[in-house]
Amino acid sequence: MKYAVSTPTFEGPFELLLHLILRQEVDIHEVSLSNIITAYLEEVRHMKVIDLDLATEFLLIAATLIELKTRRLLPGKDDGDLDEELALWEERDLLLARLLDCKTFKDVASVFSDLVSRADLSFPRMAGPDESFAALMPDLLEGVSPLRLQRAFLRAAAPKPPTVIGLEHVAPIRASVAEALVTVTEQIRQEGRITFRRLVAGISDRIEIVVRFLAILELYKQGRVELDQIERFGEIEVIWQERESSETDEVAIDNYEG
């Protein structure tokens, strides 16, 4: 779990999201998903070293947020696909439930922390019986053979299995937001106007698609592209915005590797 976040208190994506939402709690009517997404991506960007599994989690949450956001921005006349609608609601509810859980257990943890601090003020007596009882003490090593001891040693000194599982599956993520930025920038610039569907054509990995979406969002934020979606859940079109100065030509790339 080697990662550092600019605010080191965030252990995971829920915690970060929770913080970002509750920070705006002062006036709940001011809570804005856009601000939250921006802040969220900002935090993710500032992570110095990022664990791959964790990166996946952060990105999946980001993707869900963006999905909610896109849905919110769209006019509510047309009802679209009911299934997709329900699925989105389901995802939102799931996220909400997780955030509530996260908040609950954070509060419990702080109570635990108080209990531990209090318990730390007392030290237990552990000296045991004095030596006059030594002969009576049952032998802890009853039934322990030299062979069992050897096995215990081998167990203790053996190389530990790597903690990260399914690495091969998420591995392509490592540099892909940065790479995706380069790739999509090139593609959009050439085409001038391109659908998101075409930008992710041939990519089957959900994470890769999320990463490309993030890349486009980044370009949108930088004012390099415009986004257009004619109907809800319809094609998203990405339109290149030509600039006068070439000084910003070099796209600022988020490097998730740190």
Binding site: R98, V108, A119
Partner: protein, 216 residues
């Protein structure tokens, strides 16, 4: 077992009576045993060793604890992790800390505390259930907690994967200085209040920002 025979109040009365008839040696024996114990001693074991009812053990220990406190001793008798033990009085922590130096308890990180919180209230539960709540791969934290002896494999899931199920240990109770898992505050006390729920709901609302559209 005792509870079947005595209810709480009667039990206490009876042991009050019993105590006055008690051989003073029993009280001394109780002190002697507790002094040599290396971990909290369960009342059932004390009852067996001293050949007195468990309710009497509990009442005696409580009385002893009060006596020590009243006399202003530097040690105390407490019930922790289901048993009784001697420990230094928290008010003397500053002196004892100077003395034990390297016997100090390792700090518990906030990640570890949060994972412990989840396990304590939802046990038994599996790695993936923990991961789902934490939103982070809990493997490293689980291993630390297991190594420290705060959690243990308590079961295996019946399902196809036969996932390992984790639960808390008596050592966890000791670390928190509580007698039993039942002494933890109810999880209901921790459910976020309405304003938090509302803030979260608003933060994640799906419907358009258009004020004309009613929100749910």
């Amino acid at each position: 077992m005792q509870n079947e025979i005595f209810d709480e109040s009667t039990g206490q009365n009876i042991s009050g009576q019993e105590m006055s008839n008690l051989d003073p040696e029993i009280v001394r024996a109780l002190e002697a045993i507790l002094l040599v114990a290396m971990e909290p001693v369960a009342p059932a074991l004390l009852a067996q060793l001293l050949e007195i009812p468990m309710t009497t053990v509990e009442a005696l220990c409580e009385r002893l604890a009060a006596t020590y406190e009243d006399a202003g001793h530097g040690f105390q008798l407490v019930k922790v992790a289901g048993g009784f033990r001697f420990q230094s009085h928290p008010e003397l922590a500053a002196y004892v800390e100077r003395f034990v130096l390297d016997g100090q308890q390792a700090r518990v990180s906030s990640a570890a505390l949060e994972t412990l919180a989840i396990i304590a209230y939802k046990q038994p539960l599996s790695r993936s259930q923990i991961a789902a709540i934490r939103g982070v791969d809990p493997e490293a934290v689980i291993r630390t907690l297991q190594n420290r002896g705060y959690i243990t494999e308590v079961d295996r899931d019946d399902g196809p994967g036969q996932a390992v199920m984790f639960g808390t240990t008596p050592l966890f109770l000791e670390r928190l200085g509580i007698a039993s898992i039942d002494n933890l505050p109810s999880i209901a006390d921790f459910v976020p209040d309405a304003s938090v729920v509302e803030a979260l709901e608003r933060g994640l609302r799906v419907v358009s920002d258009d004020p004309l559209v009613p929100e749910t």
